[in-house]
């Protein structure tokens, strides 16, 4: 049978493809409906948070930081409650990472502050002596791309029904509603209002001035994103 195949490239290729496809069909397909349901209290990212997520991705923070707390006591003691599938329902792409040169960040918003991130991103060793993380000073002057973040929010809302402008029940029983305005100009105003809250917790005068002028430096967006990780 194998000799027969080896003389017939077409059937050989079909054979290889069949054998190779099996695993994907059985392992991957059945999970899709199950895993994409959000847990109670999981809400979509705001436009500013998405812009911060883009900064996180552009600088490949995920090359050194995971966002996946495994169900071990040593991990829950260090990082908080272990991660649940539904918490990632709006993560496109997922950012679990595969290497911890630095600590996990899945719940970093629960124990670090705007102020801490500001100092840390400017000069990591000033808050963590011995840190090997680079400083990311360019994030204090480069502008976040709010329009692309808005484009992404609109896209996931349209294509994947991510629930913007919808009341979402939080864990404490309250409701949250993440706004996604119909026009980009309205969205910009919302983003700026959110950015001002972040900037008010920061010390860097250039950043504060920029936000006053209506600009959004990358660091503001990034901190908004990191604060949302709880």
């Amino acid at each position: 049978m194998f000799h027969w195949l080896e003389e017939r490239p077409f059937f050989f290729a079909v054979g290889v493809f069949t054998v190779v496809s099996f695993a994907g069909l059985i392992e991957i397909l059945p999970n899709f409906a199950e895993a994409s349901r959000p847990t109670v209290g999981t809400k979509p990212y705001s436009t500013l948070e998405l812009a911060g997520r883009h900064v996180y991705i552009a600088d490949s923070c995920n090359a050194c930081h995971s966002q996946l707390i495994r169900p071990f006591k040593s991990e829950t003691d260090r990082y908080g409650m272990y991660s649940l599938s539904g918490e990632y329902a709006y993560d496109r792409p997922f950012l679990w990472g595969s290497k911890r040169a630095g600590p996990d960040l899945h719940r970093v918003g629960a124990y670090r502050t705007t102020d801490w991130h500001e100092n840390h991103m400017w000069e990591p060793v000033s808050v963590v002596p011995g840190s090997i993380m680079p400083a990311y000073k360019h994030m204090f002057s480069n502008q976040a791309d709010i329009e692309t973040a808005y484009a992404e929010a609109v896209t996931v809302n349209k294509v994947f029904n991510v629930p913007y402008n919808t009341n979402i029940t939080m864990r404490d029983g309250s409701t949250a509603n993440v706004k996604l305005p119909a026009t980009y100009d309205e969205a910009k105003a919302d983003v700026l209002a959110e950015a001002k809250i972040i900037a008010s917790g920061m010390k860097n005068q250039d950043v504060k001035d920029a936000v006053e002028r209506g600009e959004i430096p990358q660091i503001v967006a990034l901190i908004a994103y990191l604060n949302s990780l709880k």
């Binding site: 991957i28 895993a35 490949s60 495994r70 709006y90 011995g130 090997i132 400083a135 484009a151 980009y184």
Partner: protein
């Protein structure tokens, strides 16, 4: 069939182009690799090139550069050499396939150069080994399809009716990568839907846990079908050729090939152990990883036994050294991987430096050595020149071997140290170490690793120099001098 009495004049135009690309991307990808390894030991090195020079910005360029630059060029270079020879047909016989081959090279080079530029600019999807944004993904599809046309086109006009083992592996590489790449890179361009923002930005089709599942089904099998099957294709051709020995066992080849095809794809789940994907998938990933030892070792043992009775060549021929040690590193790596996939070991090893350690004993020892040896074997035939220096090859071999040993031994120690410290508790059950303690302690191992990488990179430069000198200054060879197994090489 195959009764052509005069030897065929094979056309190696495209093979030569891909050989240059292999060397170029090897140098670029590995230089960046060594640089970022030094950055982990000496963080001040992060500030040499502003925002473009941080570890995080450079790491995807390293991984893409060595995987899709160096390795994939090497795969294509060997295809355009091995394909013609085992199918007994010259590319010169088909003007169409020549055009396809050259176009394949042109689109490929364009894609990789654009990849480097966009990754420097921070344009990435963040998915490992699938970082490129959708316009570049489309270019990848184009050159991959062109490669497919080349493979099946050449097979279509072949004189040798039976497909040799190497061809099986090239076909498998082509098909599996096509499937994996297409599914994992499914994304929606956001500007097309919303009319806003960067035109090249996209958002993944899959969310969260599903995205992770598809990504590691892809990521793990990119390892299978970029770092394994095409490299096995190389060793099945080049080791028997260089040594003049017949492949030890056809049945073992069969078992290994079909076994590998069936088992490999299941093992992706071992990247997601203790994550939020369902438990049964994690267990499947774990179990199939163990089963994977069989077909992997099958190929490696088949290659080692091919040398039966001819082990003296290991001493006299540096190319045999590279290939035999490559095979041995393949065995090491395919035993280490399954060990790391055992749940209790994974709990310790995951997220630590043991993982990059494992990746590198496979890529440096197996993939790197096989590509180096393949290019050395091809060069005299592509340029009709004698290899410039045997002694430089010996020097390169030992420098790189020491480099690999330093690399993986330091990363084993670093990874296990890190894993143990993360979970260590005092007598009251409190964590003994803060995270930064587990970073600071690794400094010596990061330094040793970087030195190991530097030794390996030095070997790459020697390799590039040796091939360059062969092409420019090597003694010209007559056709009959090329009609031998052992590659002609100058003793100096």
């Amino acid at each position: 069939m195959g009764g052509n009495q005069t030897p065929l004049a094979y056309d190696y135009t495209v093979a030569r182009l891909f050989l240059y690309a292999t060397i170029l991307f090897g140098i670029i990808g590995m230089t960046i690799g060594v640089f970022i390894a030094f950055q982990m030991a000496f963080p001040e090195l992060n500030y040499l090139f502003g925002e473009y020079g941080t570890f995080s910005r450079l790491r995807p360029i390293h991984t893409n550069g060595v995987a899709f630059g160096f390795t994939v060029s090497g795969i294509f270079a060997t295809w355009y050499y091995v394909g013609q020879r085992v199918l007994k047909v010259s590319m010169a016989e088909s003007p169409f396939l020549m055009v396809v081959g050259k176009l394949h090279f042109a689109v490929y080079i364009l894609t990789i150069l654009l990849a480097v530029v966009t990754l420097f600019a921070g344009i990435t999807t963040s998915k490992e080994y699938a970082e490129l944004e959708w316009p570049l993904d489309l270019l990848v599809v184009v050159f991959w399809v062109l490669w497919g046309v080349s493979i099946f086109g050449l097979i279509g006009i072949r004189r040798e009716r039976t497909l040799y083992i190497s061809i099986w592996y090239y076909i498998a590489t082509f098909l599996a990568v096509a499937m994996l790449f297409l599914f994992n890179n499914m994304a929606v361009p956001t500007a097309l839907v919303s009319g806003h923002g960067d035109w090249y930005h996209s958002v993944s089709w899959y969310a969260g846990t599903n995205d992770a599942l598809v990504q590691w089904w892809y990521g793990h099998n990119a390892v299978a079908f970029v770092f394994t099957t095409p490299i096995v294709a190389m060793i099945y051709y080049f080791l028997p050729k260089e040594s003049g020995q017949a492949v030890y066992s056809y049945k073992l080849s069969l078992l290994s090939f079909w076994g590998l095809m069936f088992v490999y794809l299941w093992a992706g789940g071992h990247h997601l152990i203790y994550s939020t994907v369902p438990d049964w998938m994690q267990t499947m990933g774990s179990v199939f990883s163990i089963v994977l030892i069989l077909p992997s070792w099958g190929s490696a043992i088949n290659m080692l036994l091919t040398m039966k009775g001819e082990w003296n060549q290991l001493q006299s021929n540096p190319l045999i050294k590279f290939m035999v040690l490559g095979s041995t590193f393949y065995m090491l790596s395919t035993l280490e991987g399954p060990i790391q996939a055992i749940k209790s070991v994974n709990a310790l090893a995951h997220f630590t430096d043991w993982i990059p350690g494992h990746v590198h004993d496979g890529t440096l020892g197996w993939v790197g050595f096989m590509i180096i040896a393949s290019m050395y074997h091809m060069t005299p035939r592509l340029f009709k020149r004698e290899l410039y220096s045997k002694s430089l090859m010996e020097t390169q071999f030992w420098l790189q071997t020491i480099g690999i040993v330093l690399y993986f031994s330091s990363m084993w120690i670093a990874g296990i140290t890190q894993g143990m410290m993360w979970r260590a508790t005092d007598e009251f059950g409190n964590l003994s170490y803060s995270f930064i303690d587990t970073v600071v302690v690794l400094h010596p191992y990061y330094t040793v690793r970087a030195i190991g990488g530097l030794l390996y990179l030095t070997g790459i430069f020697i390799w590039a120099y040796n091939i360059y000198k062969t092409i420019t200054d090597g003694r010209k060879l007559e056709d009959k001098e090329l009609n031998v197994n052992r590659s002609p090489m100058s003793a100096n």
